[in-house]
């Protein structure tokens, strides 16, 4: 009873363009999604979410998860039906026509094109904490130069890099959570794990929770990027992509909830100077400079690079799909030569 039951695989829609190579498994998709979402993401927005939510940081993340669940579910449904490298662009084009499709693609390109800028800025914030006194602008130039160089020479970065980056981030987060708990039970913050980061009537303001939730939504962005790999799954079962999208959402939600709970109880009563650097200030004070330094170095090096790579994979797919339908100028389509192998920024694995 599927409305779109008879839709051909979009990659066969055009004879001029070769299709993407199908090499990815469910596990690859999960890792790609987690690398994109970046488990460290929650640390960058910590200060802002804390301030906006008035301290109800866990509530904000829980609500954001619920919000994103509907979207993840819809993505899953659409990738089952219309697997398209263009993601929302492909879905909207199929359901609503070429013009709306173009607008959808255009709007997600805003997201995907600015994402690297966001990565540069947060890496610069980390370096700022490491080596104070240098303007963040200088760091951004250095960082973007480095990434450009890496992309130029090391485009065939393997899925292994994603995997090790995710693993390393999880290890650091585990250490952070453990030591935060120790600090809390030594009397810092709330002095114990409490329900205050989840709900406290005197802290609750609908408006501020709204604002905080919309910030938290940002931390989840990336699970949707899995849909851009729809044309590259190994298995013939298209539902793999949808399952991976929902899976990444739940995995990151669980992590964010636990992490923000612990950090929320630790943050209570702590005065944040610069919300962008809140995590460094907090860890410096509660645990020790060595850990905030490690986090900053991690953030400034592999975390940024690790999230920059999957972003390029995603944006290349959308441009590929839009270029395939001649919805973007040929110049843009040329940036990523469409060979049998996935495009230049892709996670083509050894």
């Amino acid at each position: 009873m599927r409305a779109g039951g008879g839709i051909p695989h979009p990659s066969h829609g055009s004879h001029r363009v070769q299709s993407l190579r199908r090499t990815l498994s469910y596990r690859d998709l999960l890792i790609y999604g987690l690398a994109y979402v970046s488990p460290f993401g929650v640390l960058q927005s910590l200060g802002f979410v804390w301030q906006e939510s008035n301290g109800l940081i866990v509530l904000a993340y829980v609500l954001a998860t619920v919000c994103m669940y509907f979207t993840a579910k819809s993505y899953a449904l659409m990738t089952d039906t219309v697997p398209s490298a263009g993601s929302v662009y492909g879905f909207a084009r199929h359901a609503l026509g070429p013009f709306t499709g173009f607008i959808a693609g255009w709007m997600i390109l805003l997201d995907y094109l600015l994402m690297p800028a966001y990565v540069y800025v947060f890496m610069a914030v980390a370096l700022d904490a490491l080596i104070p006194g240098v303007d963040r602008g200088i760091w951004i130039l250095v960082l973007s130069g480095t990434t450009l160089g890496i992309n130029w020479f090391g485009v065939r970065v393997s899925q292994r890099f994603n995997l090790s980056s995710v693993a390393l981030q999880l290890v650091i987060l585990a250490v952070l959570m453990l030591l935060s708990l120790v600090a809390i039970y030594h009397g810092k913050g709330n002095g114990a794990l409490t329900l205050r980061p989840l709900y406290a009537p005197e802290l609750y303001h609908a408006k501020s929770i709204f604002a905080a939730t919309s910030l938290c939504v940002m931390s989840f962005l990336g699970f949707d990027a899995i849909s851009t790999l729809s044309e590259e799954i190994k298995s013939d079962d298209r539902r793999v992509v949808g399952r991976a999208i929902v899976g990444v959402l739940f995995l990151s939600a669980a992590l964010f909830a636990v992490l923000s709970w612990i950090l929320g109880d630790l943050l209570s009563g702590f005065a944040i100077k610069d919300p962008a650097a809140a995590i460094y200030e907090l860890v410096d004070w509660a645990i020790g400079p060595w850990l905030s330094l490690s986090i900053a170095w991690a953030m400034a090096s592999f975390v940024g690079l690790a999230s920059a790579l999957p972003i390029q994979v995603g944006v290349a797919r959308i441009m590929y799909a839009m270029g395939r339908d001649r919805q973007l100028p040929a110049v843009l389509a040329k940036i990523h030569p469409i060979h049998g192998t996935p495009t230049w920024a892709c996670s083509s694995r050894p």
Binding site: A95, A104, M107, L114, P116, A124, V217, L221
Partner: protein, 102 residues
């Protein structure tokens, strides 16, 4: 290049940059949900109202709620991008039509 310029411009406004990115993603989500309702509920006359109507409608409500809480700067920049897209898209469609008639 765009990324570097934007990064430089927003180096002390991480939260604003976040909102603009959010705007792009959320409008994509919006169209995703609309696509589902149109494709399955209306065109497909599906009876599965939970997945094909309730979930996307809930998704739309959520997206609109998050959008409404956005800073006016992010909103303005996001809408400008949308308008540029509209103009470009219209030109694109027109050109395609003339190409077809030729």
């Amino acid at each position: 290049m765009i990324s570097i310029a934007v990064a430089l411009a927003t180096r002390y406004h991480l939260d604003e940059l976040t909102s603009i990115i959010n705007f792009g993603a959320l409008s994509g989500f919006l169209l995703l949900h609309v696509s589902i309702i149109v494709l399955f509920w209306f065109k497909g006359r599906s009876g599965r109202w939970v997945v094909h109507l309730l979930v996307p409608v809930a998704g739309i409500v959520v997206v609109l709620a998050v959008l409404s809480g956005m800073s006016s700067l992010a909103m303005t920049l996001g809408l400008s991008w949308l308008i540029v897209g509209f103009v470009y898209g219209t030109v694109l469609t027109k050109r395609r039509r003339t190409e077809l008639t030729i």
